[in-house]
């Protein structure tokens, strides 16, 4: 993963409309002067958010971008060593999140004295047991090669058309636990039979969404499933014959913040969470297509299902139905 940092935005001061609690927090945060966070959202997003935060509050922000499992490993190890490098993480909601809370590595947002918490944040995006809230969803879809006629695909079933046999890239579900809810969604929608039929399509297995989409651009195949919109759009922007299809039924990684218990800059971290959950900050976080904002239903697919509602088919069953072991 990489790192980024934003310089101190010159002359930023406390906004006039801030509540007294917020005002105190801003002042305390500015005294700390710095913030370090770990980000699962892509680098351009993380950078945009950080820059904006810096501009707004004059606090220097450093972040590094990590995959969700690296983030868990790293945050856990650092927390355990008693010296967390990050003041907070903004990562996928996985069993790691409640686990970290249970071990006392993080504190509940509700108990962190964040001013105005939860404010106007929609209830279904609050996860009180895990002490956090979903600030972003990244709905999964289908990336297609437009030159190979992939743009005719509209929904998940279309992939099973025999004409796509051998032209499908399947992103290896074994590489991350984040794929498990997705396949559960498919099973929920179409039954396990979908997986067996997909297997019969003889998909090519790719080690990740990124190389898969590159292969797609090169014409190795017509379809990447599941596809990530930010990657597909990026390639499209560079002139690649790639498109992204968002079927109505979807799920995807749900991004939540976690406040480090022994953070070096606790107030800056709280302020950052406040910022991410505010209308303005959340818009910034979800400005790029492919990320859905809890505050803006228009950015979400028609039928979004939460990860927590998608369990039942364990990962091993999925891989074996897909013929991967």
């Amino acid at each position: 993963a990489g790192c980024g940092s934003s310089g101190t935005g010159g002359g930023a001061s406390v906004p006039a409309d801030a509540s007294p609690a917020l005002r105190t927090l801003i002042e305390a945060a500015q005294k700390e002067g710095e913030l370090v966070w770990y980000s699962v959202p892509a680098e351009n997003i993380a950078k945009a958010v950080s820059d904006d935060f810096t501009a707004k509050y004059g606090i220097k922000v450093k972040f590094i971008r990590l995959t969700s499992s690296d983030l868990a490993q790293r945050f856990a190890a650092e927390a355990e060593s008693g010296r967390p490098a990050a003041d907070l993480f903004v990562g996928s909601y996985t069993p790691f999140v409640p686990e970290a809370l249970g071990k006392g590595w993080t504190v509940k947002l509700a108990e962190a004295n964040i001013p105005d918490f939860p404010g106007g944040f929609p209830d279904k995006y609050l996860l009180p047991d895990a002490g956090t809230a979903v600030v972003q969803v990244q709905p999964t879809g289908i990336a297609v090669n437009t030159q190979q006629g992939g743009d005719t695909i509209k929904d998940w079933q279309d992939i099973l058309d025999p004409k796509w046999k051998g032209k499908i890239i399947l992103v290896d579900p074994r590489t991350s636990a984040a794929y498990t809810p997705f396949w559960n969604l498919i099973v929920k929608e179409y039954g396990e039979e979908y997986l067996t039929r997909l297997k019969a399509q003889q998909p090519v297995v790719a080690s990740g969404a990124a190389p898969a989409t590159q292969q797609l651009a090169a014409g190795e195949a017509a379809i990447v499933m599941p596809g990530v919109q930010s990657i597909a759009d990026d390639l499209k922007g560079k002139g690649a014959p790639v498109g992204f299809v968002q079927p109505p039924a979807s799920t995807g990684p749900e991004i939540v913040p976690g406040l480090a218990a022994k953070a070096a800059h606790p107030n800056a971290a709280r302020l950052f969470v406040h910022y991410l959950m505010s209308a303005e900050g959340n818009r910034k976080l979800n400005a790029v297509p492919g990320s859905g904002s809890p505050l803006d239903p228009a950015t979400l697919p028609a039928r979004y299902t939460f990860n927590r509602e998608l369990s039942g088919t364990p990962a091993e069953r999925i891989t074996s139905l897909l013929g991967l072991t």
């Binding site: 993963a1 990489g2 790192c3 980024g4 940092s5 370090v36 680098e43 351009n44 450093k62 972040f63 590094i64 971008r65 995959t67 499992s69 690296d70 868990a72 490993q73 790293r74 856990a76 190890a77 650092e78 355990e80 060593s81 008693g82 010296r83 490098a85 996985t94 069993p95 790691f96 686990e99 074994r174 590489t175 991350s176 636990a177 090519v204 297995v205 790719a206 080690s207 990740g208 969404a209 990124a210 190389p211 989409t213 590159q214 292969q215 651009a217 090169a218 014409g219 190795e220 990530v228 990657i231 990026d234 390639l235 560079k238 002139g239 690649a240 990962a315 091993e316 074996s320 072991t325």
Partner: protein, 562 residues
């Protein structure tokens, strides 16, 4: 007896112990945990391991890939070393660096480079070949048994080359000439005489093959799934990162398989070293003269150049192409090439800092590692067999575990109190040095073998103590071999992504980390640009060093008069 402990020995022993502790302690913190529950030994992880899905397939696939590439690397590396050290096919610096150049590309970039080249439908190389052959896919497929073995091999060859070169330099060229005069042609001579004569070096190389082969992660992570191959290093990382908490117990148990194989090879190698049947004979009056290949010279040179082209020019070219195109395009539209990605890379301050840090770390860690290894090699060679083997084992075995595990161990051990090294370059220095000790000690063992004992004896007699002897005599004489080892270490460390994934952070970012990040974003163009940049930067360091080492190694000055 009293004199047996000189300050140098004390310092050296402490160093060896420190290196051992550095390798063992962080590991113990991670590894012990799953096996100890409530203060009792718990073998559940072993049971879980045996219950792993497709354990047989996993081991079989891994064995074939590691074994196959190891063998191939031994053959290619030895042949290149032989052609370079012993024949008139040598082409100056070119042949010295040929095996090293593909190595300059970090493995993740190499793997991507090869998938750009060798993917069945849109691989650049396939498209090129199909211009002549026709068809719509193939003829080659890098996502396959042979593809994976091939890419592994490229990254294994430099080790074999380095070690076998040192070995050849140490054996009497007259043995090969005798074979020629006896009626054997160059090939038979290579097969029947030269290679068997350097068996100890081949043993050392074989050990390193197994060691690094099991450890390679980026290459199988990118190429293996599509080939339907299940590789141990990938599985281990999956176990560690698929769920939280990581299944460290099972991962470590799987790694025990690796350790077992490494132990067997290690044992075989020490046996080989001890056998008198490989002892150098005679040798006095031998002057190294290149073997005349006669009509074989042209073809051999052709093969060397072909190897260079195939293994370095092609993947580098593919990466350059992809970074100019902006993405991996099935059809190259020459008019649309642009420098966007290059500009983005060059103007990205994060990348610049990472590059500087990586090069700095590479220089520092390679230097520390090689110097420490030199002290240990010299001490181990002089001390008793049992102690020597123990130190050797303590330094060499822990890094057989997945680097991810070890990196977590380093965080646990050094991040917090009392060291507080988390997020600093120091923790990376410690981890890199420890992780690369096996390569470093293998190189320094070979280098130490090249210093005739009389040369150090003469220094002792002249009144110099052990420390002075080491500094003024042993070290300079080992220099050519150590520099070769240094170059390999520098390259691997500068491009490391395995330990960096956990240990690098906002204040100690490194280029491997950056590459991973760019890879996760799916930005092949920038990945290509960064990789090419890194390759250029490392070659600027490595090529002069190799040239210098070679010059010293080839001059009569470095040949001991024996």
């Amino acid at each position: 007896m009293i004199r047996r402990l000189t300050p140098f020995q004390v310092a050296g022993t402490l160093l060896a112990l420190a290196l051992g502790a550095l390798a063992v302690y962080p590991l113990a913190l991670v590894v012990a945990r799953p096996f100890v529950t409530g203060g009792r030994l718990d073998l559940a992880p072993i049971r879980d391991t045996l219950a792993q899905a497709g354990l047989g397939t996993l081991l079989w696939h891994t064995a074939v890939v590691v074994g196959g590439s190891g063998l191939a690397a031994m053959v290619i590396g030895s042949a290149l070393a032989w052609a370079n050290e012993r024949t008139d096919a040598r082409m100056g610096l070119l042949t010295d660096v040929v095996p090293l150049v593909p190595f300059l590309l970090p493995p993740i970039a190499g793997a991507i480079g090869w998938s750009l080249l060798g993917s069945e439908r849109s691989g650049y190389l396939n498209q090129l070949l199909r211009l002549g052959l026709g068809g719509t896919q193939g003829p080659i497929d890098v996502h396959s048994w042979y593809g994976l073995i091939f890419v592994y091999t490229i990254y294994q060859v430099p080790y074999v080359f380095m070690i076998v070169s040192a070995g050849l330099r140490n054996t009497d060229a007259a043995m090969e000439e005798q074979s020629r005069v006896s009626g054997a042609g160059p090939l038979r001579t290579l097969r029947r005489i030269s290679l068997p004569a350097v068996r100890p070096s081949l043993g050392a190389a074989g050990l390193l093959m197994v060691w690094t082969g099991f450890g390679l992660f980026s290459i199988p992570a990118i190429l293996a799934p599509q080939a339907g191959l299940d590789i141990l290093s990938v599985r281990v990382v999956q176990l560690l990162s698929f769920t939280y908490p990581p299944e460290t117990g099972v991962a470590v148990s799987l790694n025990l398989v690796v350790m077992l194989v490494v132990t067997l090879v290690w044992y075989a190698q020490t046996r080989l070293l001890r056998s008198t049947r490989t002892a150098g004979l005679g040798g006095r009056g031998a002057r190294a003269r290149p073997l005349r290949l006669g009509r074989w010279r042209g073809p051999v040179r052709g093969l060397i150049v072909a190897y260079l082209a195939l293994t370095s020019v092609l993947p580098l070219g593919a990466l350059v192409l992809v970074s100019l195109t902006g993405f991996w395009s099935g059809t190259v539209d020459w008019t649309r090439l642009n420098l966007d990605a290059v500009v983005r890379t060059l103007t990205d301050t994060a990348t610049q800092e990472a590059l500087v840090n990586s090069l700095l770390l590479g220089v520092v860690c390679a230097t520390i590692g090689v110097l420490a290894a030199a002290v240990v090699s010299v001490l181990v060679r002089r001390s008793g067999r049992a102690t020597g083997m123990l130190v050797d084992a303590a330094i060499k075995f822990p890094p057989t575990l997945s680097h991810l595990v070890i990196a977590v161990g380093f965080v646990l051990a050094f991040s917090g109190a009392p060291f507080h090294l988390g997020g600093t370059l120091w923790i990376l220095v410690l981890a890199y040095v420890s992780l690369h000790m096996p390569q470093a000690t293998t190189a320094s063992d070979a280098a130490a073998g090249q210093v005739a004992p009389e040369l150090t004896d003469a220094s002792r007699i002249s009144g110099a103590g052990q420390a002075r002897t080491f500094r003024r005599i042993t070290l300079p004489l080992m220099a050519p071999g150590l520099l070769a080892g240094w170059a390999l270490l520098f390259v691997t460390i500068a491009g490391d992504i395995s330990a960096s994934a956990i240990l690098a952070g906002t204040d100690n970012e490194v280029v491997g980390f950056r590459i991973l990040e760019v890879f996760a974003n799916g930005d092949y163009a920038m990945l290509g640009a960064i990789s090419v940049l890194l390759t250029l930067a490392t070659s600027l360091v490595v090529l002069p060093v190799t040239w210098y080492a070679r010059r010293r190694g080839a001059s009569p000055l470095s040949r001991t008069q024996l």
